[in-house]
C-alpha cells in the first residue's frame, strides 16, 4: 500500500467537500433564480437558500416570485421550505423530489425592491397563445372605444362634415386621373395603330386590279393569286383588330371597375361620420362588451399567459429532453427495464399552505410537476382552495396534461362570497354607481386542446343595491334612461365566452342587463339616433354627388368616344374584307368567261370539245 496515495485521495475528497461548502450554494442559487426569472419574466428570488450535497437537501427561508405586470409586488411568496432529493436519480443527473411542503404561501405581497428582470433576447415565432392574447387585447381595445356614455342622439351635420375629410371625394379624384391616363393611352393606340395604313394598302391593291382588262385565263389566274394574298392580309388585319378589341375591353374594364366602387366609398364615409358623431349602435353585444368586456377579457388574458408559460415549458422539455445524440463511437445504451427512465425534474407532491392578501386560508396540493409527463405517466394537477371566516372562498383546480399527442390544459377558478360594498360592478361610465350591498362571484373555466379553446369567464353580483344618491342627478338623457332601467336590478351577471381557434376566434360578452339597456335605449333615444344617421347619410351623399356625376359622365363619354373609334377601324377592315371577296368572285367569273372563250375557239378550230 502506498501511504502517499491514500493521503492524496484524502486531500482530493477534502478539496471537493470544501468547494461544495463554499461555492455550490451560491452557484446553484444563482442558476435556479436566473432560469426561474426567465420563465416568470420577472425576478424570482430566494432568501436563506441552502443546498446540502451530503444530505441531498434543498431549503430556503423565503421565495419571492415577482408579478411581471407589477414588479413592486409578488405574484406569490413562500415561507421556510425544505425538501430532499432522491439519491440515485441525481447520479443520472435527474432531480426527483417526493414531497415539498410550501409553508407560508401568500398571494399578492408587496416587495421591498423592484423585481424587474432584464429578459434575454429570445427570437421566437408568435405562437398560438400570443395570437390568442393579441386577438383578445384587440377586442378589449375595441370595447374601450365603445364609450356609450359619450354618445349623442342629435348632431350638427354641417359642422361635423366640416371637420371631416371625406375620403370618397379624394378617391374619385384619383379614379378620374387614372381614367384620363388610360383613355389617353387608348386614344394614342387607336391613332397610331398600323391597321388603317394596311387597310389603305389593301384597298389600293384591290382597286388597282382592273378585271375587264384581263385578256386571257393566265392573267386571270395570276390576278386571282394576288387577290388570295390580299384576302389573307385582310384576315390577318381582322385578327389584329379583334385582339386590339380584347385588350381594350380588358384594360377598360379594370380601369372602370373603380366607378363601381364609388357606392362603397360613400358608405365608408357615412360610417366614419356616424362614428365621429358618436351615434351608437344599440346592439346587445355592444352593450355587454362596453360594460364588462374589458375586465372579463383582461382576466382571461392573465390566465392565458400563465397557461402559455405552462405549455411552453411542458412542450419544450417534452421535445428536447430526450433527444439522444450519439457521437461517433460513444456507443449505444441498452435499457433492460424502465427503472432509470426518469424525467429530468419531477416534483411528485407539493403540499401548499398559506394565506391570500384578503385573509383566505389556502391549502392544497400540486402533484407531478415534471419535465416529461410521458415518463412519469401523470399530468400536473393543481387543487388549491380555502375560505376565510366570512365564508369568502377561493378555489383553483387545474390539469396540465401533456401525455398525449395534443397538449391539453384545463383551469377552473372560483372566487366567491366577497363583499361588493362600495365597489363598482363595471368600470364603464354607464354604470358609475357604487354598490351599497352585495356579494360577488368570479369564475373562470378554460379548456385548451392544442390550438382549440373553449372558455367562459363570468362575474356574478348577488343581492346588490345601487347607490344612486351619491351620484346625484343623471348627467344626460342616456344616463337617466339607464338608471331607470336598472333601478330594480338586484343581481347582475356577465359572461365572456371565448371559443374556436386562433384562426377563427369567437368572442362574446353578455350580461343580464344588456337587454334592459337595449330596450330602454330603443324605446327612448333610438329614433333620434336613427334620424341623425339618416341626416348624415343624406349630407355625405350630397357632398360627393357632384364629383360622382362628373366622374361617371367623363367615364361614359370617353368610353363612347373610344368605342366609336374602334368601331370605325373595325368597319374599315370589314369593308376591305368584303371588297376583296367581291373582287375574288369577279375574277373567278372573268376567269371562267375567258376559259370558256378559249375552249370555244379551240372547238371551232379543231372540232374537239374540252
Amino acid at each position: 500500500m502506498r501511504i502517499k496515495g491514500i493521503i492524496l485521495i484524502a486531500i482530493i475528497i477534502g478539496i471537493g467537500f470544501g468547494l461544495n461548502l463554499f461555492f455550490t450554494n451560491s452557484w446553484l442559487k444563482n442558476k435556479i433564480e436566473y432560469n426561474a426569472s426567465v420563465v416568470n419574466e420577472a425576478k424570482v428570488e430566494f432568501d436563506g437558500f441552502d443546498f446540502s450535497l451530503f444530505q441531498l437537501k434543498l431549503s430556503w427561508d423565503r421565495l419571492q416570485v415577482t408579478n411581471p405586470s407589477n414588479t413592486m409586488t409578488n405574484t406569490f411568496e413562500t415561507g421556510a421550505t425544505e425538501f430532499k432529493m432522491e439519491f440515485w436519480p441525481l447520479l443520472w443527473k435527474k432531480v426527483i423530489v417526493e414531497n415539498v411542503q410550501l409553508m407560508g404561501f401568500q398571494l399578492d405581497t408587496e416587495r421591498e425592491t423592484d423585481g424587474y428582470f432584464e429578459m434575454p433576447e429570445i427570437d421566437e415565432e408568435p405562437g398560438f397563445f400570443s395570437e390568442l392574447t393579441s386577438q383578445i387585447s384587440g377586442e378589449i381595445a375595441k370595447n374601450a372605444q365603445t364609450q356609450l356614455d359619450e354618445i349623442k342622439t342629435s348632431v350638427n351635420v354641417d359642422s361635423l362634415l366640416a371637420k371631416m375629410d371625406l375620403q370618397a371625394a379624394h378617391k374619385m379624384d384619383s379614379l378620374k386621373t387614372g381614367l384620363e391616363q388610360n383613355y389617353s393611352k387608348w386614344e394614342d393606340t387607336f391613332k397610331d395603330n398600323p391597321i388603317e395604313k394596311n387597310v389603305a394598302e389593301i384597298k389600293k391593291s384591290v382597286e388597282g386590279l382592273e378585271v375587264p382588262k384581263l385578256k386571257n385565263p393566265k392573267e386571270a389566274i395570276a390576278a386571282l393569286e394576288d387577290v388570295k394574298k390580299l384576302a389573307e392580309q385582310a384576315k390577318k388585319l381582322k385578327t389584329e383588330t379583334e385582339q386590339l378589341k380584347k385588350d381594350f375591353e380588358q384594360d377598360f374594364n379594370s380601369t372602370t371597375s373603380g366607378v363601381g366602387q364609388i357606392d362603397g366609398w360613400i358608405k365608408d364615409d357615412i360610417a366614419s361620420a356616424v362614428s365621429v358623431a358618436k351615434l351608437p349602435d344599440f346592439d346587445v353585444q355592444n352593450i355587454g362588451s362596453a360594460l364588462f368586456g374589458g375586465n372579463l377579457l383582461g382576466d382571461f388574458n392573465t390566465y392565458i399567459e400563465y397557461l402559455a408559460v405552462a405549455r411552453e415549458y411542458g412542450s419544450r422539455f417534452m421535445s428536447s429532453e430526450e433527444e439522444e445524440k450519439i457521437e461517433r463511437y460513444e456507443g449505444k445504451n441498452y435499457e433492460f427495464s424502465d427503472k432509470y427512465d426518469w424525467p429530468g425534474l419531477w416534483l411528485k407532491k407539493i403540499e401548499l399552505s398559506g394565506r391570500t392578501n384578503t385573509q383566505i386560508d389556502l391549502s392544497g396540493l400540486i402533484t407531478n410537476i415534471s419535465s416529461n409527463q410521458k415518463k412519469t405517466g401523470y399530468p400536473i394537477l393543481i387543487d388549491i382552495g380555502g375560505s376565510d371566516k366570512n365564508n369568502v372562498s377561493l378555489s383553483v383546480k387545474s390539469e396540465l396534461n401533456y401525455l398525449g399527442a395534443e397538449p391539453k390544459e384545463n383551469v377552473e377558478v372560483v372566487y366567491d362570497g366577497f363583499s361588493l360594498n362600495k365597489a363598482k360592478i363595471s368600470p364603464s361610465k354607464l354604470l358609475p354607481y357604487d354598490l351599497k350591498a352585495g356579494k360577488g362571484e368570479i369564475s373562470a373555466s378554460i379548456n385548451l386542446i392544442n390550438r382549440k379553446i373553449n372558455s367562459e369567464m363570468s362575474y356574478k353580483a348577488k343581492g346588490i343595491v345601487f347607490d344612486f344618491e351619491s351620484e346625484g342627478k343623471p348627467k344626460n338623457k342616456i344616463e337617466g334612461v339607464l338608471r331607470d332601467a336598472i333601478s330594480d336590478v338586484d343581481m347582475v351577471y356577465a359572461t365572456a365566452i371565448v371559443d374556436g381557434t386562433s384562426d377563427k376566434l369567437n368572442i362574446k360578452v353578455r350580461s343580464n342587463i344588456d337587454d334592459l339597456f337595449v330596450n330602454a335605449l330603443k324605446n327612448t333615444v333610438q329614433k333620434e339616433v336613427d334620424a341623425a344617421k339618416k341626416k348624415i347619410e343624406a349630407k355625405v351623399t350630397e357632398e360627393v354627388a357632384a364629383k360622382r356625376k362628373e366622374v361617371e359622365k367623363y367615364a361614359s363619354e370617353k368610353e363612347a368616344q373610344l368605342r366609336a373609334e374602334y368601331d370605325r377601324i373595325e368597319a374599315s377592315v370589314n369593308e376591305q374584307l368584303q371588297k376583296v371577296e367581291e373582287k375574288r368572285e369577279e375574277l373567278e367569273k372573268k376567269k371562267k368567261e375567258l376559259e370558256d372563250s378559249v375552249k370555244g375557239a379551240i372547238k371551232k378550230k379543231i372540232g374537239i370539245d374540252f
Partner: protein, 173 residues
Amino acid sequence: MLLLKYLSKLLKELSSEAEPSQLAGGFILGMIIGLTPIMSFHNLIIVVLILVLKVNIGMALLSFTVFSGVAYLADPGFHAFGVWMLEHDGLQSLWTSIYDNEWWAMTRFYNTVVLGSFVSALLLCVPMFPLTIYLIKNYRTHIHARVQKTKLMQALKGSKIYSFYQTVNKVRG
C-alpha cells in the same frame, strides 16, 4: 513537470530499481483506463488503485497514453463486441438483474463501448501482465545498456530540461 518526473522515474525504474510486477501492474491498469471511456465509474476505482497500490505511476501514464490512441482505432470493434454481449440471449437474464441494481448500473455496463472495451481490456490483462514482466526482464538484461548509449538518450540527458530536472530533484532530495 509531473509527467517528466514520472517518465524519468520510469526510465530509472525500468533499468533496475522497481519490481517488474509493479511496472507490469501500472502498465495493465493504465491500459484499462486508456482502452475504456475515461469518464466511467470503473476508471475512478482504477485511479484509486493506481494511487494506493505500489504500481508504477509513470508506467500507468505511459500505458494510458498509448492505449488511448489504440482505443480510438479500436472503438468500432469494442462497440460491435459490446452489442454482441448485450444482445446475447444467454446473458439477458444477467444483464436484466444487474441493470436493476443501481451500483452496477452506475458502471454504465449497458453501453456497448464501455462493456466491449472493459471486457476486452480485462481479457488483454491476462497475457499482457506476464508478457510485460518478461519484456522488462529482457530489457534490463539485453537492451537497457544499448538504449543508454543511443544518440537520442545522450541528447535527452544532455538537454537543459533534463539537467534542470536533475538539479530540482537533488534540491528536493
